[in-house]
Amino acid sequence: MTQTAIVTGATSGIGRATALRLARAGFHIIATGRNPDRGAETVRQVQAAGGTAEFHSFDVTSESDWAAFANTVTSAHTSVDALINSAGSFFSKPLPDTTLAEFRELWTADVESVVLGTKYGLRMMRDTQSAGSIVNISSLAGLIGLDDCAAYCAAKAAVTHFSRVAALEGAQMDPKVRVNSLNPGVIYTEMITGAYGDNDAVKAFVMDGNALQRVGTAEDIASAATFLASPAARMVTGTAMLVDGGRGAD
């Protein structure tokens, strides 16, 4: 039977790369995002790689959207084997200049989206009797500090620790569901180039912070997400898997 993986934020960056990698591992991909044109492009890329995919456009910060999406998925599919909560947002600003509105907007995009995704992921897995795996994309910034990123660091720390507790609850289900956070270092995606620019100086700055002197890619994270989703990680739950080129180690 074909396994099914839901990937949020699959319209770019880590989400799209993860959809492609999971498709190569044999998963049917249920991609989600806000932009239908970019969603269609993800579906096209999955199909070009020999996989199958569908796209659903909804707002991951809306509980009613999640409830409707979960209904659609469990009506159409007999199992939900993996959920990658990849949708998220980022900004960098000194704390004295950060407004509460900006903080709340990021918290909603990064934390509430993951809380809702995990809640409805557990429900979908329960309703389809799937021993599934949920992977919440957090960040190295959820484990160590990053200048001018107080809101993002706080949000990602929340995602990391929320995932540990969700792992305890997932382990009480029958069949058991695994939950992990995946904590990338600085990965060269539109999220970074959108905030800092896309040029060689930014690339060099990103690279220089890593122990491995290379730029981290969306594909690096997609591989780790696929590992966590796979039976190879059958006993991995409640962990924060760090993929950062050694950036956080020194």
Binding site: K176, L212, R214, D220, M235, T239, D244, G246
Partner: protein, 254 residues
Amino acid sequence: MTFDVKDKVVLITGAASGIGAATARLAAERGAHVIATDLDGERIQGVAADCHCIGLKHDVTSEDDWDNAITAAVHHYGRLDALVSNAGIVNYEPIIDLDMARFRSLNQVHVEGSFIGLQRAVAQMRAQADGKPATGSIVLTASVMANCAAPTISAYAVAKAAMANMARAVGVEVGRKGDMIRVNAVCPGPTRTPLLEGAMPPGAMNDPAHWTDVPLGVPQEPEDIAESILFLISEESSFMTATQMVVDGGWSLT
């Protein structure tokens, strides 16, 4: 679904049983060239025969034995792509009864053994790089006991914490040298190995009542740890270094 380790030359210590034997078997099944070593020179030949790989007697506290093991890899396959420093022993004793000789031997096997292995493996990976950035993956089998605690496990916890942070320190050091040599620790929770089974009451390993403090409810099989080790050896983890990968069924969560 597996992560590609085909044609990688992999040296695995402590491979006569438990996690090391499972890693050797899975790596060999997936097309890696395995050099399996162990202090028990007879049992390692049994594993080598089963896995169709090279088996060597290897005392990891001996620098000469490390040189022999690495020379064997290079002699047979021309290079070394990965080292799994896995040999280990265990000791359950209250600290007031712990004999210094046993404390030292525990640290010799885990800490000194891994230290010598890292030195020799990094040197070989650099020597074979031919002027290009050196590549390779080194995995140390630490333990959740590197960051957790339980009674009577102090000496083992000390040794495993040292191994976990050795991976971190050496990972940063060799990366900063411009090499693509990666060093990571895997931190298993309670796993069905002869080490653990020998320390448990008879029958406890298969008694669900014994595993209620593991959220996933069962002991891990050696293969579960081997899968993580093989992921860390594969190119799909090529941006991972200086990390600790916990595989414990959620045991350390509470």
